[in-house]
């Protein structure tokens, strides 16, 4: 897919939408307006945006507990997303899923998931259905470095490679499995190394660079749709906020210096600087885009706040068991 101005603007807008939504959601959570835990995606925007710029609603994704960014990049509406976070009946899951189970089948988003490593096997099923139906779509499963230790990941990788399924394993390696540094939970640095053990290529990608992610996804999707099977993209990235909630600085399991180093490579700032150099988006235009998105987010919050809570009579609807 050609990296023209239209694509560049599209990637930029996806990143700004994620950053703005998550920042405002964080404020609301700190104000006690959102029930439950909120795992925010700030810092990792380049990964979801670089991948999702290739996908249509007919391509499936599975997400993680940190799933807002994936749904936004897949085309999620702010109003319905905030409504879900607020537990309102107008939410994507009618207010019954909340942050960690947010999903929408129309957009090809098979769900965030509170269980670490639960997404890959679901994506294998989606990829199998694509292959069975002989369409040219792909499935993408997002997971973290921590999830790459789970048996579910390994079983999914094995089966996807065995059946040459059109599936992208996208590891968002932000260096921490919840509060545990990668060096303390696995004996490897590059999760991509694990791909060879299942008979698929694994590559390391700069997850703070949206174009690097975009290019890698382009190549992996080309392989997948050509019938060459799955690939593993390990995107080295960093979350600027805490595992849960907002507070980024002053944490005990990582240093402020480490955070500051990663923030120098803020994916949105880097991308906007280059877009300005190329004359694609001026600094003034970028500011306007941020303002417009913030207005959209605020409208979404108002929509959610004014939406009704689910009728208790619907408690047993839309559940599996």
């Amino acid at each position: 897919m050609e990296l023209n101005n239209e694509v560049l603007l599209d990637i930029h807008r996806r990143m700004v939408r994620i950053r703005t939504f998550e920042t405002e959601a964080g404020k609301l959570a700190e104000a006690g307006k959102i029930p439950g835990a909120l795992h925010l995606y700030v810092g990792q925007e380049a990964v979801a945006s670089g991948i999702m710029a290739h996908l249509s609603n007919e391509d499936w994704i599975t997400s993680t507990h940190r799933g807002h960014g994936h749904l936004i990049a897949k085309g999620g509406e702010f109003g319905r997303m905030f409504a879900e976070l607020f537990g309102r009946a107008t939410g994507y899951c009618k207010g019954k899923g909340g942050s960690m189970h947010i999903s929408n089948m129309d957009l090809g988003m098979l769900g965030a998931n509170g269980i670490v490593g639960a997404g890959p096997p679901i994506a294998v099923g989606a990829a199998f259905s694509i292959k069975y139906r002989k369409t040219k779509n792909v499935a993408v499963t997002f997971f973290g470095d921590g999830a790459s230790n789970e048996g579910s990941f390994h079983e999914a990788a094995n089966m996807a490679a065995l059946y040459k399924l059109p599936l992208l394993f996208v590891c968002e390696n932000n260096g921490y499995g919840e509060y545990t540094a990668q060096a303390n939970h696995q004996a490897i640095v590059d999760v991509a190394d694990r791909a060879a053990g299942y008979g698929m290529p694994g590559v390391v990608v700069d997850g703070m660079d949206a174009v690097a992610v975009y290019e890698a996804a382009d190549a992996a999707i080309a392989r997948a749709t050509a019938g060459d099977g799955p690939s593993l993209l390990e995107c080295k990235t960093y979350r600027f906020f805490d595992h849960v909630g907002v507070r980024g600085m002053g944490l005990t399991y990582r240093t402020d210096e480490e955070l500051a180093e990663w923030q120098k490579r803020d994916p949105i700032h880097i991308f906007e600087a280059r877009l300005a150099e190329l004359g694609v988006v001026s600094k003034e235009e970028a500011v306007k885009i941020h303002e417009d998105v913030l207005t959209e987010v605020q409208a979404g919050i108002e929509f959610a706040e004014s939406s009704p809570l689910p009728d208790p009579a619907t408690l047993l609807e839309d559940v599996y068991a």
Binding site: L3, I188, V189, D190, A192, D193, A195, A196, P201, G202, V203, V204, V205, D206, D209, V211, A212, Y214, E215, A216, A219, A220, A222, R223, S231, R274, E277, L278
Partner: protein, 337 residues
């Protein structure tokens, strides 16, 4: 008898595993390679002292477990970037010899600061025009012979050519094999993926048996390190631009493509050549620097690249004297301890 080891944990893992058919070098394999190097060194020179780059994956540290060689990590600040290889090499300028694991990019980073220290470059990268595929045990043995002074490094480790880049603002840069101008707009995945984006190239060596830009140039004319010149290539910029020559070359591992060339020329050593932007400059296969439209850059081939060790020649040079006292005595001393 100080021997340096720099193993790059990031080499051999980029997008070319997807866009081409490049090998994956996982870090366990790199550690196994270093372990065999260490065995080669220890077998001949048990008194050698190993100084190594303390990489994030502990490739070399893990390889040294169980070895009786004296070893210590280089005391350096790490950035997780290619600067680490440059910085490690700077600390190894006192060494008798350095062993590297990586591709052209890794050795470019090392070559920036290593100076005259002989370099045994083992390939664990993607484009491997500079490093060689070689049994690591033999590489370790060659390092031991050099460290013990059993071979003439003038004979087995001649200087290679290098490409020196000077920007308009006075900044400088360095490449081992090629400087390429492309029409790419972003650094992205770093690798040069689309041959239709090539604008120009300056090569220190042109080897048709390798992959990448050196192979493209090499299909027009072979230029080795022994030649006192490099090669320049220019590429047609649109479909109507006449191209007199088409070569079929391995542009990446497992990827042979027809490449249209506009002009091919030679560039003498020490003769600077100027180019005008806008372009993306790639060094040794990786996008590294954006050149503005009004910015010029000067590229010059010089014979001051790293002194690359010919492992085969090194070991063969000691064949008539394998019972040299410096080898046997040191083993006896160590065993007596």
């Amino acid at each position: 008898m100080d021997i340096g080891i720099i193993a790059n944990p990031a080499s051999g893992k980029d997008i070319r595993r997807l866009t081409a058919r490049a090998s994956v070098f996982d870090n366990q394999e790199k550690s196994a390679i270093v372990r065999r190097c260490v065995a080669g060194i220890e077998g001949l020179c048990p008194d050698a002292r190993i100084h190594y780059y303390p990489d994030s994956h502990q490739i070399t540290a893990a390889a040294l477990v169980g070895s009786e060689l004296s070893s210590q990590p280089i005391d350096m600040k790490k950035t997780g970037t290619s600067q680490d290889s440059t910085e490690a090499a700077r600390h190894l300028r006192h060494a008798s010899v350095v062993i590297s694991l990586g591709g052209d990019g890794t050795n470019r980073a090392i070559g920036k600061s290593l100076g005259d220290v002989p370099l045994i470059a083992l390939s664990t990268g993607t484009n491997n025009a500079f490093p060689v595929f070689c049994e690591a045990t033999s590489a370790g043995m060659a390092a031991a012979y050099i460290a013990m002074g059993c071979v003439s490094t003038d004979e087995v480790a001649p200087s290679t050519k290098a490409l020196h880049v000077t920007y308009q603002n006075g900044d400088t840069d360095f490449a081992l094999i090629d400087v390429v101008g492309t029409r790419d707009l972003f650094y992205g995945s770093r690798a040069i993926l689309d041959p239709s984006n090539y604008v120009f190239a300056v090569l220190s060596v042109a080897d048709p048996s390798k992959v990448g830009m050196t192979a493209i140039g090499g299909m027009t004319q072979v230029v080795s390190d022994e030649h006192h010149y490099g090669l320049t290539l220019s590429f047609p910029q649109d479909s109507v631009d006449s191209s007199k020559k088409v070569v079929y070359a391995a542009v990446a591992p497992g990827l042979v493509r027809p490449i249209r060339l506009k002009d091919v020329g030679q560039i003498d050593i020490d003769k600077p050549l100027q180019f005008l932007g806008a372009t993306m400059l790639a060094f040794d296969g990786e996008r590294e620097r954006v050149l503005r439209a009004d910015e010029t850059v000067t590229v010059c081939v010089r014979r001051d690249g790293p002194r690359r060790v010919d492992v085969k020649a090194c070991i063969e040079s000691v064949v008539p004297s394998t019972m040299h006292p410096c080898v046997g005595l040191k083993r006896v001393e160590r065993h007596a301890n």
